[in-house]
């Protein structure tokens, strides 16, 4: 039987922000090591070094149920436990390439609280037995990378990373590596290739990076927000962490809300909060007099949901059940003034531009999807083209080395499925707007098929 407090937890829908990672986010000077330490920072690292064995660390992370915050939502502790034991060179990479349209949570976390991440990276390196740690930050975030580099230098000086961490003999070298503008490098194996100094092309899996990753060695790859959670879990324990969120999605989540809302920005909430509370309560909803037409729950790669689905709880499991995904936790709202075919075209153009070209279904599929959607808008399409668009999307999904192609196919496919009437109306309106000289000359004679000859 459930106790009263358990029953209360399972039925309670949390409201408003619950700040853990974002606690005191605008504290002046939080990016400096003095302020961070003054607020209790780096105590978790000391605890991890002096009071805990690496196995105990791994167990705590696994017990916490922390799921990756970068998109896939895989258990962080489980991923770390996949790394083989033994004294081969192991690596940890923090994925700070945050390039998903609509995602900007890692940027604010690193810009304002870089030491929280560095502490998390250092602890995770200890748990995984990694001697090298890399933070792969996208090249566009130059000002954030500057802040991060300053913070890393401070952490080296204070002995929280480097050759002999706090005199315990543990060694973790930490390098901030700047990308140079390629969405594909957010994919973990492309990230590794890029870090090795190559063009960012995804690798065939298996072997997975945990077995054979950077420079061929076992590699743990985690997102900024995932690693920023680690100091809190080590400080307060797995059970404390599980006290937030839902059973399958424990913890808090920094959610980026953008698009047609009055207060776009990052909000840290308990997973399981109602999506309506996020979009309307926190972000203010669409401007006065307008209403939500569609929303992406997990960045532009996620299949869109409709206004009716705003009452779903915002959690990994509820979004998956609705046929979409929580992804990196980035909500993009489109209101009733936004044309869905135009939105589909913008989305498709992005993935077409970013496709690395290695796999044919993605390279060609994104290209033809863009061309077909352009035809829908320019009036050269017929309703039959919608079926072709849908079938192209189906033929991309699951047929490539990485999910970049799927990331276009899923949202575009969902838009065609859920807003087909709007696409049909756009095709009709487009055709009506284009003058067809054949129509005028064809009153008596039937149109001559091209190539029939005279």
């Amino acid at each position: 039987m459930m106790s009263a407090s358990e029953r209360e937890r399972s039925t309670r829908a949390p409201a408003g922000e619950t700040r853990v990672l974002f606690r005191r986010i605008d504290e002046p000077g939080l990016a400096s090591i003095e302020t961070y330490r003054g607020l209790g920072g780096y105590r978790s690292l000391e605890r991890a070094l002096k009071e805990m064995e690496p196995d105990e660390l791994l167990t705590t992370l696994e017990d916490s149920g922390l799921r990756g915050r970068g998109g896939a939502g895989f258990s962080m502790g489980k991923k770390a436990s996949f790394l083989p034991r033994g004294d081969m060179a192991k690596f940890i990479c923090c994925n700070a390439d945050e390039s998903e349209p609509g995602a900007f949570k890692d940027r604010e976390l690193m810009q304002k609280n870089p030491h929280q991440l560095i502490e998390g990276v250092s602890i995770a390196a200890l748990a995984a037995g990694a001697g090298w740690a890399f933070i792969f930050i996208r090249g566009e975030y130059a000002e954030v990378a500057d802040i991060l580099e300053r913070a890393v230098a401070e952490a080296y000086d204070a002995g929280f990373v480097g050759a002999d961490i706090l005199g315990t003999g543990h060694r973790v070298e930490l390098v901030v590596h700047r990308g140079a503008g390629a969405y594909i490098c957010g994919e973990e194996t492309a990230l590794l290739d890029s870090l090795e100094g190559k063009r960012g092309n995804p690798r065939l899996k298996p072997p997975f990076p945990a077995i054979q990753g950077l420079y061929g060695g076992p590699t743990l790859i985690n997102n900024v927000e995932t690693l920023s959670n680690v100091p809190h879990i080590v400080a307060n324990g797995a059970d404390w962490f599980k006290g937030f969120g839902t059973e399958q999605s424990p913890g808090t989540k920094v959610v980026s809300v953008s698009g047609c809302v009055q207060r776009p920005g990052n909000y840290e909430v308990e997973l399981g909060i109602s999506s309506r509370e996020l979009v309307y309560g926190l972000a203010g909803g669409p401007p006065e007099g307008r209403r939500v037409k569609a929303w992406f729950p997990g960045g532009s790669s996620a299949p869109v949901l409709t206004a009716a689905e705003l009452d779903l709880p915002y959690s990994f499991e509820a979004m998956a059940d609705a046929g979409s995904m929580l992804g990196s936790g980035s909500i993009i709202v489109a209101d009733d003034l936004v044309s869905i075919p135009e939105l589909a075209l913008r989305t498709a153009r992005f993935y077409h531009h970013e496709s690395c070209g290695k796999c044919t279904p993605c390279r060609e599929g994104t290209n033809w999807t863009v061309k077909m959607l352009e035809r829908v808008i320019s009036g050269e399409a017929t309703p039959m083209d919608l079926d072709i668009i849908a079938s192209v999307q189906e033929n991309i999904i699951g047929h490539c080395l990485c999910v970049l192609g799927d990331s276009m196919a899923m949202p575009v496919g969902s838009m065609v499925a859920k807003f087909r009437d709007e696409f049909e109306a756009a095709i009709k309106a487009g055709r009506a707007a284009v003058p067809r000289p054949l129509d005028e000359s064809a009153t008596d004679a039937r149109p001559v098929p091209l190539g029939a000859g005279a």
Binding site: E17, T18, G40, E140, Y141, A180, D239, W240, G259, S300
Partner: protein, 250 residues
């Protein structure tokens, strides 16, 4: 070298011409790794690249930092700059060029002194990103179509404008990255003011800098009771006092 056919599309060649072309392209003809004495590397550039090479377990990982160093030194990835970096790193210029053409932030042709990247992805587009791009183009005197397809520089060589994919700042949509700093939300007036400031070598629109923006949720709320308890040290992780709490519950 005189027997090498002139370069033209292969589909316009006869089979015989194609065969001769393929035969003329031997691996040993590829540009080799330049020797350091063959290039004139500025000391500052060389130091930056060598510093990057010392930070990684493997040398090639320094390729992106080396290209950044070249671009910062010359303003873009010049042919000479690539050869210099290749000589310092001990790789072929073609290898570095293959990277410079893959990554969007590297420029492989000359650009204006100041760089304006305007987001045209969905979150910015829904909030007026296209109009913002047009305003930047008009103010700088840049062709909007060119800006949207690879970027273009103003006739006076001062400002380079390019439409760019999502830069991870949809909270300040519509936004632009100006000389690697983020600004937003920008109006069309801001765009005109920014271009004028850039021409005068002043900071674009300091009031709209992302760096000064507070979290969207407003002032720090009262901490959640569970967070407050943990901060007071009232919460003890399992292991530390597991035995004690079990005794209490009995």
């Amino acid at each position: 070298m005189s027997d090498v056919p002139e370069i033209r599309p292969t589909n316009e060649m006869s089979a015989e011409e194609r065969r001769r072309l393929v035969e003329s392209m031997r691996p040993e003809d590829a540009e080799p790794v330049p020797e350091l004495h063959e290039v004139d590397v500025p000391d500052e550039l060389r130091e930056r690249i060598e510093d990057a090479m010392s930070r990684y377990p493997e040398l090639r990982s320094a390729a992106l930092p080396a290209l950044w160093a070249v671009q910062r030194h010359y303003g873009w990835c010049t042919r000479d700059g690539l050869r210099q970096a290749a000589a310092v790193m001990g790789v072929t210029p073609a290898y570095l060029e293959s990277l410079a053409t893959f990554y969007d932030l590297f420029r492989t042709s000359p650009v204006g002194r100041h760089q304006v990247l305007v987001c045209h992805n969905i979150s910015c587009w829904m909030r007026g990103g296209d109009e913002l791009l047009r305003a930047f183009c008009e103010a700088a005197g840049v062709d909007a179509h060119q800006a949207d397809h690879g970027g273009a520089s103003s006739p006076d060589g001062q400002v380079f404008v390019k439409a760019f994919e999502c830069m991870g700042a949809c909270d300040i949509a519509p936004m632009a990255s100006i000389d690697e700093r983020y600004y937003g939300p920008l109006t069309e007036d801001d765009a005109r003011a920014a271009v004028a400031e850039l021409r005068a070598d002043a900071e674009a629109v300091p009031g709209k800098a992302l760096a000064n923006r507070a979290a969207a949720g407003g002032p720090e709320p009262e901490p959640d009771p569970r967070v407050a308890l943990a901060e007071q040290g009232g919460h003890h992780p399992p292991g530390a006092d597991a035995g004690a709490s079990e005794q209490e519950s009995q």
